[in-house]
Structures are given as C-alpha cells and as structure tokens.
C-alpha cells in the first residue's frame, strides 16, 4: 500500500511566476467588480506593481540555484533568472506603451464597422482586459525558459501563446486586418503546438522520460531507437522555430506584426523572442547536447536561410512594421548562431543579444506608435519621408535603433553581433558566421534606406505628424534609447554579470 506523497514545491523560488499570475487574477477581478471609470488607472498600477514586485523577487533569488524548485519540472538557475529578469524588464517597458490606449479597440467583440463599435469608441471608454492578458502571457513566458520537462514546456508554451492570439486582434484601426492577424497567428500557432506535442511524444518514446536531463542521459547511453530521437528532435524544433519566426516557419510573422496593435507587436516581438530562445537554448544545450552532430546540420541550414531570407525580403517592404518583422526574422537567424555555438560563450552571447535586441525592438515599435495622422498610425514608409525635418528628436531615436539593428559600433547591436558570431566561430561554424556577416551587409541597406527617407527626403504634405507622446510612452522609448547606447559604450558590466551568472543546471 503505497502512501501518497505530496509534491514539494519551493514557493519562494516559484514566486516570480506566482506573483505575475496572482496579479493577472487580481486584474480579472478588477474587470469584474471595479467601475469602468477607475479601471484604467487601477489596472495599470496593479500590472506595473506586479511586474516590479516579480522583478524584485527574481533579483532576490538569483543565487539560489536548484533543479528541484517544482519536483524537477522547473529549475532556478543563472540562465533562467537572467531570462526571467529580461522578460519582466521588457514587459514593464511594453506595458508603458500599452497604457497608451489610443491603439486599442474598446469592444473587441464588436463587428468591425458596426454601430456598436462606433458608439463604443465615441464613449471614450478604454479596453482594460489587455492588462491581465499581458500578465498571463508574461507568466507563460517566464515559465517557458525555466521548464525542464516537455510537459511543463508545453503548458508554458500555450500559456504564453493564448493571450497573445487575443491581443493581436485588439487593434482599433484596420480591425479586419487585426482580426485576420489574430486568426492566422492562432491557426498556425495551433499547428506548431501540434508539432511540438508530436515531437515530445516521440522523445518520450525514445527516452522513456519527458525530463530534459533524462533525455540527455538517454542520448549519452545511446540505447534507444535513434529514429525516434531524430523525429522527436525534428518535430520539437519545428514547434520552437515557429515561435521564434525562423524560415521556413516564419509566414505568420509579417502579418501578425503588421496587424496587431503596435504596442502589442513591440511587447510580443521583444519578449516572445527572449522566452522562446530561452527555451530553445535550454532544450538544445541540456537535452540534445550530445546529439549535436545530428541537429547541427539542420539548424545550420535553417540559420543560414533565415538570415538571408529575412535580410533580402525586408528590402522589398514598403510598410515599416512589415520591414521590422522581416528584420526580426533575420535576427532570429543571427540568434540561431548562438544556439549552434553550444558553449558557455554562446549562451552568454545569446542572452546579451536577446536583451540588446529586445530593448531596441521595443524602442523602435514605440516610435512607430508616435507617427500618425488623423486616422491613426502611419506605417507606409513613403509617408515617413522627411520625418527628420519635422521631428528631429524622434527621427534620431529611431535612427539609433535602426543602427543598433544593423550592428554599427557604439550601439548595443554591434557588441551583440560580435559576441554571438565569435562564439559561433569558436565552435567551428564558419559558414554561419560568413553568411551572417554578408546578410548584415544586405540588412544594412534597408535600415539605411529608412534613415535616408527620414533625413534626406523632403517632407510630404499629407498631414503626417508625430504626436506628443504620453509620459509613459516617452519613458519607455527614452529608456530603450539610453540602454541601446549605454550597452554599446559600456557593455562590460552586463557582460560580466551574464558571464558570471548564466549557467544551465541539469
């Protein structure tokens, strides 16, 4: 007669995630019980408070490494703590942008163009559901990179994805496009989840366990059916590569980036990438480390085509959000070089790159929210002509973010690019480095084209203007700018912190 043993959970170590989930539940309560008038302020303060509190708790537990925080399903280690911290920081900046409710519809369920929608917008009310949704997504993102078994990974994946599907459809303007984006994201996301589960099932069949370290041990012992392992790795990779937007699983990226409300795009582009790469790094570094020679060719090819495809197709884009979407695809390729490095240097470089890229992305999309005319945001590149003349400050900020994406020295992007390519080169991935450098040259072209358009073209008279941003939006963009420059000039503190902290425990 075996007795039931209660699972041991170390709550203090799980607290960052629990705090965020708690905040989300409080948010739902507020939606239910608080009056419409006070909801916006209340929701915003609860959300920010939750995120800050969680951040503090992450900082508090940063040295308490253990593999058994939740019965071996989630881990607390340096790399996980860094990624959770980065996600929370990005989320705080993202919520500042979300707080500008001008971008969101009021009743998401209203039929586009209907009387109901018009009335709801005229009423001046605000859509506050977005805050708890954000918190749920953040909780999923925080769980994703610290999960150490495939089941928890899947739960985290769904937890971060489902709110994002909804949030993508909340745009106030161009409702149909926004809803289409949401549906597309949902359908393709569901597909990729299926792939992920399929792969997980095969890996279980191979190793007899779902834990990453168990799979790693089974690969070392090499007494399972290799076909199961390869199919498992391949399908699991498809699910993850979809989330990071690697070619050929990238098709959703431009549509969703364009259709979603821009603050959501900013948050999603920056934070999802950190979470997904965090999980990807852990799975490949911890679980599949000893199958390196099996997955290396696959990931090498995907990295190369992702870098090239993203850079080349971005050139043809006429819409700023689509251009940034393709640029994010190219960056996913660069980041895969860090996965290929499979070394401590590769891990450090990837984390630095994720932080640098996430912050710059948030800033860039933040600027996009500011350029408007009477009918809303302007994302048509041609109408950005002469922005440098009308609002030199905003144009300079945007140019800085673009230069960081292009990897020009004295910006964070350069240090990130150098560190990730050197780590990849060190482990013999010369082809990836060379293609990476060449596609950086291609990518430089379309970043510079936007700078030319902003600074060297004459303004067109079509009512485009830069709105005076709210304090929170301003704070978010300026912080992103300051970090981008600071990490370009003095990357040493962060690099040292990462290299002394970032490890995966098994």
């Amino acid at each position: 007669m075996s007795s039931f043993t209660a699972p041991v959970l170390i709550y203090s170590l799980l607290a960052p995630i629990l705090i965020v989930l708690g905040g989300a539940v409080i948010g739902v309560m507020i939606e239910a019980f608080a009056s419409r008038k006070i909801r916006p302020v209340l929701q915003l303060s609860v959300t920010i408070g939750t995120l800050v509190l969680a951040f503090a708790q992450v900082w508090h537990i940063r040295h308490q490494e253990t593999a058994s925080a939740a019965m071996g399903s989630a881990v607390v280690d340096g790399a996980g703590v860094l990624m959770q911290g980065a996600i929370l920081f990005i989320a705080i900046l993202g919520v500042f942008l979300i707080a500008d409710q001008e971008n969101f519809t009021v009743i998401a369920a209203a039929v586009p163009g209907s009387e109901e929608e018009t009335q709801s917008i005229q009423s001046g009310e605000q859509l506050t559901e977005v805050y708890p949704l954000t918190l749920f997504a953040v909780a999923g993102m925080m769980l994703f990179p610290v999960s150490t078994d495939l089941i928890t990974l899947f739960v985290a994946l769904e937890m971060l994805s489902l709110p994002l599907y909804l949030m993508a459809g909340l745009s106030r303007r161009r409702r149909l496009m926004s809803q289409e984006a949401a549906l597309k994201y949902f359908l393709l996301g569901a597909f990729s989840s299926a792939f992920f589960l399929f792969g997980a099932a095969y890996l279980y069949g191979y190793a007899g366990t779902v834990s990453l370290s168990g799979i790693g041990a089974a690969i070392t012992a090499a007494n399972g059916n290799t076909v199961f392992l390869l199919i498992g790795i391949a399908f699991l990779s498809v699910g993850l590569l979809f989330k990071i937007g690697a070619v050929p699983f990238h098709a959703w990226t431009p549509d969703v980036y364009q259709g979603a409300p821009t603050p959501i795009t900013a948050f999603m582009a920056a934070a999802t990438k950190i979470a997904a790469f965090g999980a990807l790094l852990r799975i490949f570094y911890v679980g599949f480390e000893n199958a390196y020679w099996d997955w290396r060719p696959l990931i090498t090819v995907i990295a190369i085509i992702t870098m090239l495809f993203g850079s080349v197709v971005a050139i043809a884009q006429r819409d700023i959000k689509r251009m940034l979407a393709y640029s994010s695809i190219a960056h996913a390729g660069f980041l895969l070089a860090g996965v290929l490095a499979l070394s401590k240097a590769g891990l450090d470089a990837s984390i630095f790159y994720l932080i640098a890229y996430g912050v710059a992305t948030l800033g860039a999309f933040g600027v996009v929210t500011l350029v408007r005319d009477s009918s809303g945001e302007i994302t048509d590149l041609n109408r950005w002509a002469g922005l440098g003349k009308r609002s030199p400050f905003v144009a300079t900020l945007f140019a800085t973010f673009l230069l960081a994406f292009a990897g020009i020295p004295l910006t964070s992007g350069f240090i990130g690019k150098f560190s990730i390519f050197s780590a990849a080169y060190e482990n013999g991935n010369k082809s990836v480095v060379i293609v990476g450098v060449l596609s950086s040259a291609i990518a430089a072209y379309f970043y510079i084209r936007v700078i030319v358009l902003m600074f060297f073209s004459d303004p067109v008279e079509d009512g485009t203007s830069v709105i005076i941003p709210s304090f929170l939006t301003r704070l978010s963009i300026v912080t992103a700018f300051a970090i981008t420059i600071f990490l370009g000039l003095f990357p040493a503190p962060l690099l040292n912190f990462i290299s002394s902290t970032a490890i995966f425990i098994r």
Partner: protein, 507 residues
C-alpha cells in the same frame, strides 16, 4: 610629461567642443562657427605640442595608455602612436581648423542648421584621432565603422546635387568592407583564444601562429576593407560620387584623412598581422596599384568637372601610396607615409580653391571658367600652386614623397616603378589642361564679376601653402619621425632592402 594622457586628451577635446556647440542656440550660426574654429585650433596646437614630446629614435609605441574596456572579450581601450600614426594624427588636427575656416559658409546650403554641421565635424575629428591612435584591433574597428556615420550625414545633409545617393553609396561600400574585416577580426579573436588567451592587442596578435590558408583569408578581409577605403581600383567607384556631392570641406577630410585610414591600415594591420599572406598577395596588389595610378590619371584627364577631376587624381595618388607600401623597402614605406601627409595638403589646397571657384561661379564645370588669372589673380595663383603640388613639381612636398616611392619600388619591382612613372606624365596632362582652360585665355562670359579671395580665405590657405613649400625643401623633420618606425616595421616582418648592385665596368 609622461603622466599626461596626450592621446585621450587630444581625442576628447573635439568631443567636448561638439557638446559645447550642441548647447548653443540654433539660430546663432556664427557662434557655432567660432566655437568650432576655436576648438579645432586648440586641438591643432595641442597636437603639435604632443608631437614635440615624441621621441624620434624610440621605435616602441609612445604615449601609450591602456584601460580595460570589455574584459569578457579581452578588449582594451588601448592607444599609442608610432611615427606613422603620429604623422597622420598631425595631418588630421592640422587640416581640421583649415577646413572649418575655409568652409565658413559651407553649412548654409544644408538641410540642417550650421550647428549640426560643426557638431558632425567635431565628432569626426575625435574619431579620426581615435582611429589612428588605437592599438587594439577592436577599438580600431569601432572607430573605423563609427566614423562613417558623421561623414554620411555630412555628405547627405550638406552636400550638393545627388547628395543622398552619394552618401548611401559611400556608406554601403564602406560597411560592406567593414563587415568583411569584422569576420577577420572575429577569426583573429578566436585564434588568439586558442593560443594563450583572447586579446586584441596589435603587438600580441602579430606573434600568432596562423596557417597560411587562414592567413590568406584573414588578410583579404582586412585588405578589401582598406582597399575600399583607400580607394584602390576596382573598389573606387564610390569616391567620385561622394567627392562630387560633398561640400569642399567634407571632401578634404574624406580624401585627405579618412581615405588614409585605408593605407594606414595596410601598413599597421595587413603587414604586421599577416606577413606571409602579404608576400603572397604582393604581386596582385602591385598590379592593382599600378592600374589605379594609370586608370585614375586617364579618367582624370577626361573629367569635365573640377570635383570629379580631383577625386580621380586622388585615385591615382592612392595607387602610388599603395605601390610604395607593398614594395616593402624602407624608401617605399617612408615615401608612402610622407605621401599620405603631403597628399592631404595638396588635395586640401585643390579642393578648397575648387570649392571657392564653384561657389562664386555657381558651377564646378571646367568649361564654365576661363581667364580667371585676369579676374581673380590671387585665386588663380593659388589654384596653379595647388595644381603644381598635385603633379609633384620638384621643390614642393609631393615631389619628395613621389620620388621616394618610385625609388623604393624600383629597387625591388622595376617594372611596376617604370609603369607607375607614366602616372607622372599623365599628371601633367590632367593638371595643366584644366589650368590652361580655366585660368588662361579670354575671360569667359559669366566670369567677369567673380571676386578674388577674401582675407579669411587667404588665412585659411596660407598654412597649406607654407607646409607644401617648407616640406618640399626640408622634409627631414617628418622623415626623421617616420624612418625609425618604418625600419622597425620592415625588420620585424622580415623584409630587407635589396642590396645596391653596381655593374662592373668593362664587361
């Protein structure tokens, strides 16, 4: 005096000037100009003061400073100069005030205020000093790439004609070369890590054991970047467009200083880091250099526009410099280094006068000028003088350097030297024909009302003329600084001058 951080001080002064200018009111262009002029003059004086502290016979790097910058990757903020770098820093700090003074009204045709123009110029000066002073390859790369940004905005924002297209072309060419160099730098970093610890220190890197295949690839990464910068045929096509579109002052800095980073880099990095690969590629590069000399000269003859003409003469001159470097003789190297300095000043003279002529006439087409000698005698004489300096008339500084380069090349590669000598003949054509057309003959309609140089312009051009004359007769102050470094460089990389041979009489 050893406790003065000369190089850092020198580098940071223009930056402080830029910050100061940034706080001036936008409408007060005059204040911005004065502040920029004061800063650059002060930097020039400080630069000369630094040069007097330089120990000529000491072949080690001097004014050395090193602080840890990014310890994770072994990157240091490390600066120091040898004779060659010192000469090029002097060139930069001397040209900057001349450019500011000569182009007093240059910023007026720009998209943005004069204030922005001078901020960009001052930031550029900081980076020019930094790029020559850096002794850490990573730091060098940072300056090498970052200096593109101010130049890009100077061309695109304040130039004339197809300025944005020219600026983009310039930036993309340079970025492409820079990224190839980045790949090589990453490889060097990895190799240094395998051989005793990650570092970017130039001296340590030069002791690495690199297999010859790898060396060849890494050499090419660096060399193509420098050949684009210098610019060497066939990587030159961005230069005429950029020089045509940029303001004269920007062109002076672009051709006079920035392009020297290419030839400087060939000596400092290609030669010392990859001595074996240098030997492998020398024949190819000499051929490219000779082609540049002849091709640049021929195209210069065919130009109808002063600015493009000067750009093509520079391509020819950069051919000479590259030839001198890859001849691997002491005369060749001394001549090439001196050439870099002299070319800076003779190009400055040409560009500034051409700029003044163009701004007065409203056109830089050669055919729009005629009989200037009678209308504006001083300007005509200055142009004549600048032209003579460009064709290396004996008695002017460029003669000394061109002669040294040819002698140095002849002792090892006589064919290259002989073919290169034709460049001098062609130089006479590309300089004398436009001089004849624009200065002499009847006064062209539209030229009657042109005014002669004013006091400010005379003051700006006077030091240029003085330097060209003085160094033409007495080049030893510079050569004494350059020669020890050159001898040291060549001996370290295993090159010796060919022994002089005398034909025995009566055979």
């Amino acid at each position: 005096m050893s406790n003065v951080n000369w190089l850092t001080t020198l580098g940071i002064l223009p930056l402080l000037g830029a910050v100061f200018v940034a706080f001036l009111p936008k409408t007060n262009a005059l204040a911005a100009k004065r502040a920029a002029l004061a800063t650059t003059v002060f930097v020039a004086i400080a630069g000369i003061a630094m040069a007097t502290q330089f120990q000529r016979d000491n072949v080690d790097l001097q004014f050395v400073e090193s602080h840890s910058w990014i310890p994770t990757f072994g990157i240091n903020y490390a600066v120091g100069v040898d004779g060659i770098a010192l000469v090029l820093i002097l060139l930069s700090v001397l040209l900057a005030p001349i450019v500011v003074l000569a182009g007093w009204n240059e910023a007026s045709g720009g998209r943005w205020s004069a204030k922005t123009f001078y901020i960009l110029i001052l930031i550029l000066e900081t980076m020019m000093i930094g790029v020559f002073a850096a002794t850490d390859v990573f730091l060098f790369y940072v300056f090498f790439e970052a200096m593109l940004v101010p130049v890009y905005f100077l061309i695109g924002g304040f130039g004339t004609g197809k300025r944005s297209a020219a600026a983009v072309k310039f930036l993309l060419y340079s970025l492409f070369g820079g990224l190839l160099m980045l790949a090589s730098i990453i490889a060097l970093y990895v190799i240094s890590g395998e051989q005793g610890g990650h570092t970017f220190d130039t001296v340590t890197l030069s002791h690495l054991q690199i297999s010859s295949t790898t060396q060849n690839f890494l050499f090419l990464g660096f060399f193509i970047a420098f050949a684009i910068k210098a610019p060497l045929w066939p990587f030159h096509t961005w230069l005429p467009d950029a020089a045509d579109a940029a303001t004269p002052g920007t062109s002076v800095l672009l051709l006079g200083v920035l392009d020297k980073v290419g030839t400087f880099g060939m000596i400092r990095y290609c030669l010392t880091l990859f001595p074996d690969a240098t030997k492998t590629f020398t024949p190819v590069i000499l051929v490219l250099a000779v082609i540049s000399i002849i091709y640049g000269a021929f195209l210069a003859i065919g130009q109808t526009d002063f600015k493009r003409l000067i750009a093509f003469t520079s391509i020819s001159h950069f051919g000479f410099i590259t030839m001198g470097i890859f001849a691997m003789t002491t005369q060749g190297h001394s001549g090439a280094t001196l050439y870099m300095f002299n070319h800076g000043f003779s190009t400055a003279a040409l560009f500034l006068v051409a700029g003044w002529m163009a701004s007065r006439r409203g056109s830089s087409k050669i055919s729009d000028f005629g009989g200037l000698q009678r209308v504006t005698p001083v300007m005509a004489w200055v142009f004549f003088f600048a032209g003579m300096s460009s064709l290396a008339l004996p008695g002017l500084s460029s003669f000394v350097s061109e002669f040294l380069v040819l002698v140095g090349t002849y002792t090892r590669y006589p064919v290259a030297a002989i073919v290169g000598t034709f460049g001098i003949v062609l130089a006479a054509l590309y300089i004398l024909i436009p001089i004849q057309r624009s200065l002499h003959g009847p006064i062209m309609p539209g030229n009657e009302g042109l005014t002669d140089l004013n006091l400010r312009e005379k003051i700006a051009i006077a030091p240029v003329i003085a330097i060209i004359l003085v160094l033409g007769f007495y080049p030893s102050p510079l050569l004494n600084v350059i020669n020890p470094t050159v001898t040291h460089n060549l001996s370290v990389t295993g090159h010796t001058d060919p022994a002089p041979s005398i034909e025995k009489a009566g055979k």
